[in-house]
Subunit: 401 residues, 2 copies
């Protein structure tokens, strides 16, 4: 029997996946599970997007241009320009979700064995994409104490070796919810210019910024055009994760020419997703206002509830719809499994993501969990009650009640 590749053997499996059988078992026992473990929003997709797909007059579902429909790319460039991001049509390749934007960007910019510095905790699938592209992630610790702000530039410089070829960030951050400031991004820019590195910035949560705080994109930075690659997706913006439409964006012509060859090999992004995404650009501002209001209320409730629990600390995020909380527990993996396997409060329990999956440094995040506040307030209230009760009786709790 032939063996699978060593790369396939090394592909990471996220700690959340390991919990799935326990969640299924709990459901079989008739328990209600509040899913705060995944970034699948409950918000409805904009009507204008759904209608465009229903009303499309397609008779033959043809390949589109490998870079995506030109009509969509043109309108998408205009969308970025509304954010004062100087993106032209030719700077855009439409991808199959943000996932493919990451894959193609990594293969275009980095050789096998190259090192990529990423502030941790970071989106767990960066591990999988790096493994597929044979890259080495060099994590740099950000701290829950200051809400996961950008680590000092001096700490980045300590990690730079001749093999370092790039830095990757997520802004607003998954899993932290942290929104990088203009100063932090300027400092990063100076660093990438100094060492001639690529900066890959995953900004799929652009529309989710709270408290009037300003979103700063890497595309706002001046003087580093050739080093910067923006990774985007409509999944969260329009609650359209299954449309599988994203984008890879850069002003670097050599990067885009090479990226297009990868895009051509896979032929084209999905047709119906593009039809919907193009129409979704007409989504009224009232949709986003309502969504922002809803997420702000959810965030405020969850963060307050968490910080009121004894021994819990959770910084207040300014963006995305995640937060990372430090809990008085011995082991987040064990705790999250226990919540599903052994705990219920009135036949209800909560599913969380152990933060260990978001850290690359072994042992990091052992007493932290990520919560996605993607449920309505009533469900969040019940979920927080479950968590509060669970922390009182969890055998591995590290404080006495």
């Amino acid at each position: 029997m032939p063996k699978i590749s060593s790369k396939a053997g090394a592909m990471p499996s996220s700690p959340i996946r390991k919990l799935v059988p326990f969640a299924e078992q709990a459901k079989k026992q008739g328990r209600t599970i509040f899913h705060l473990n995944i970034g699948q929003p409950d918000i409805e997709t904009p009507e204008v997007m759904l209608q465009a797909i229903k009303n499309s007059n397609i008779r033959v579902i043809e390949y589109t241009h490998s870079a995506g429909n030109e009509s969509y790319r043109k309108k998408l460039a205009a969308y970025y320009q509304k954010f004062n991001m100087p993106v032209a049509t030719e700077d855009i390749i439409i991808t199959t979700g943000g996932s493919e934007a990451i894959e193609i960007a990594m293969m275009t910019c980095f050789n096998p064995g190259d090192e990529l510095i990423i502030p941790e905790p970071f989106y767990a699938n960066y591990n999988g994409f790096s493994c597929a592209a044979d890259l080495v992630i060099k994590p740099i610790r950000s701290s829950i104490e200051n809400g996961f702000a950008l680590p000092p530039i001096a700490e980045f410089e300590k990690l730079i070796t001749p093999k370092t070829r790039g830095i990757m960030i997520c802004n607003p951050g998954n899993p932290t919810g942290y929104l990088y400031t203009h100063e932090e991004l300027e400092a990063l820019k100076n660093l990438i210019v100094k060492y001639d590195l690529f900066l890959l910035s995953d900004e799929v949560y652009r529309e989710f910024c709270y408290d009037g705080k300003q979103y700063v994109s890497v595309m706002h930075l001046e003087g580093a055009d050739q080093n910067i690659v923006l990774l985007d997706s409509i999944s969260k913006r329009y609650s359209a994760c299954g449309a599988r439409i994203g984008a890879m964006i850069s002003k670097n012509k050599e990067v885009m020419t090479a990226a297009l060859k990868f895009a051509q090999a896979r032929l084209s992004p999905p047709t119906f997703g593009q039809v919907g995404a193009e129409a979704a650009l007409e989504t009224p501002q009232s949709y986003f206002d309502a969504v922002t209001k809803e997420y702000t209320a959810r965030r405020d409730f969850v963060i307050d509830a968490l910080n009121q629990m004894e021994g819990v600390f959770c910084p207040k995020p300014s963006g995305a719809f995640y937060c990372i909380a430090r809990l008085p527990i011995d082991n987040a993996d064990t705790f999250c499994q226990w919540l599903l396997e052994s705990f219920h409060y009135n036949q209800k329990t909560v599913m969380l993501a152990p933060a260990t999956g978001f850290y690359s440094t072994p042992g990091a995040g052992m007493n932290e969990v990520r919560l996605a506040y993607v449920l309505n307030l009533d469900s969040l209230r019940e979920a927080m009650t479950c968590l509060s009760e669970a922390l009182k009786v969890y055998p591995g709790r590290t404080i006495n009640n």
Copy 2:
């Protein structure tokens, strides 16, 4: 300015792509171009598929299961069973087109530097996927004289080295239209078992077999379950290239477990494509009967017309909707460019794919072109007239008229 990766620099660009600017120029000059260069069928997508997408009652376009919707996988397994292919639901991962099935299968089965033997001419994008996965393609020449039948097994054995990890075929073949016989596939099976290799079989043209000839799948072979990976797509079957729905299939549990990790990293295949693909399984047999009849008529016309041209030889294919013709020309790349740039017959011309892009051996296919008979008979008639006239006046023709 940071440099792109050497992999990105090495990504091949197909000879067809190089012709696109010349086609655009010809169109600007008001010329009609008959596109026989690409496998984008003109056949309508089945109504049942289009209606399912229009009528889907989706309010939130959510991620699906990373392996694809279970309801779809169950029905797809039943579809294969109708062909007497012993495929179970758990043997299937739904992919984003056949392209992603190839990508994931290559990454799962092969390490960087591994050698993969592929009979040439082969589908040009295998080059791109192999480059992305850092594989080395070892081409084995098949011959136009016998219609591109499987080369003798002894020739395969000559190519096998300690680095050889697999063999890849396309059946029915793109670009050859050749349909492998049961004997040929049995011989291949014995070879892969003998040397413990993976056999990747791309069978996306299953529904396009003519003259009552029997389609034999690698899934029909006995005793090599653990070595075999089937790659599939609905793109051609339902004329739904833009749906981006394919499948990777194997009875090898280790392969499928590893492949699922790659699938999980990219989250899920497109939702609307899956909705359509599931419904498309209800496409009535009459649709396929009509399509087969239409393609048979097109093939018969094109092959006859080609072989009637002086100095042209084109074997009659039994499957897919392509054929490779040998022309009395000096250089297929030059000829195909000349057709667009310098030739017209009553303001009409034809776009063909130079066969050089389907060969990995340098210099091979220099006097061959691929034709996709994806236009209606009237257009094909005009296209063949154009080609016939062109061959009479092409400056690089190798026979005198």
